[in-house]
Symmetry: C2
Subunit: 160 residues, 2 copies
């Protein structure tokens, strides 16, 4: 059993990154699918627009990765892209940055418990999974916005 | 680097199960938060009710786990709970079942590629992560339903 435990990695840094980037490709498609005005103006139930949610995702991704990599927790990046093309430009720049920086996280850092952003005490891997889960969560909200607008979103299982 | 790779498991079967069960506790809270009638009648944009989505989650969880464990892919369990209490009863029974069955998945099975349910060719770990992601996705949709009903959902980060 001990041998089996150490010989199989359920998730490697690379498969975790690939899973995240797959989700990011789908989230990008959701951003693209919104009509320009709805992206920054439409919402339901007093919630934020999908543009604001996408901005949150952009603002936290690299601070999370850098924090896990180095133990330095910088504030979430703020900013307010005014257009869909600006949002997509930031998204794409971050996709490249993520591919560049994620593999540099020292493996031992994934299980170091730290107070991320001075607030959330958890191991690095849990913080990263949280960031991915948070993206799936908000994107799910975006799906309802699109449906409520009468627009069919790309299928959830599409990650290419 | 080779040493480091094999000495750190980013995710173990146990931490993966704990993450899933944490998500399941939150999803259960969302089911509970819906008023009985809205759970089975309210939806937006022509989508399914949250009761139907919860039913999908209940129907796929054990077939996924059993399929990864054994290579036998049984059909998703169908069914139509008529009340919130019935839905929660099924949910809780499944929570116990998941705790019982998940640790029995042979570790080597997680990376075996199979055509899950005769349709999706992927390794077991990817299928399981997909099931968790699918739950997060639909729960995110449920958050919008609740907000649109004027009901504040429990925070996304609450997993206890």
């Amino acid at each position: 059993m001990a041998t089996e435990t150490t010989s199989v990695n359920l998730v490697t840094a690379d498969t975790l990154l690939q899973n995240w980037q797959g989700h990011r490709r789908l989230t990008r498609k959701i951003i693209e699918t919104f009509p320009e005005d709805k992206l920054f103006q439409f919402s339901l139930g007093g919630m934020r627009t999908f543009g604001e949610m996408a901005q949150e995702l952009i603002g936290m991704t690299m601070p999370v990765v850098d924090g896990v990599a180095t133990g330095k927790w910088e504030a979430f990046q703020s900013g307010k892209p005014a257009t869909k093309s600006e949002l997509l430009r930031l998204w794409d720049a971050q996709t490249a940055k993520l591919d560049e920086e994620f593999p540099k996280i020292p493996l031992a850092r994934f299980w170091v418990v730290e107070k991320a952003f001075g607030q959330w005490e958890m191991p690095g891997i849990v913080m990263i999974q949280y960031a991915i889960d948070n993206e799936i969560h908000h994107r799910g909200e975006g799906y309802v916005y699109l449906r409520a607008l009468g627009i069919e979103p790309p299928p959830f299982w599409e990650r290419n």
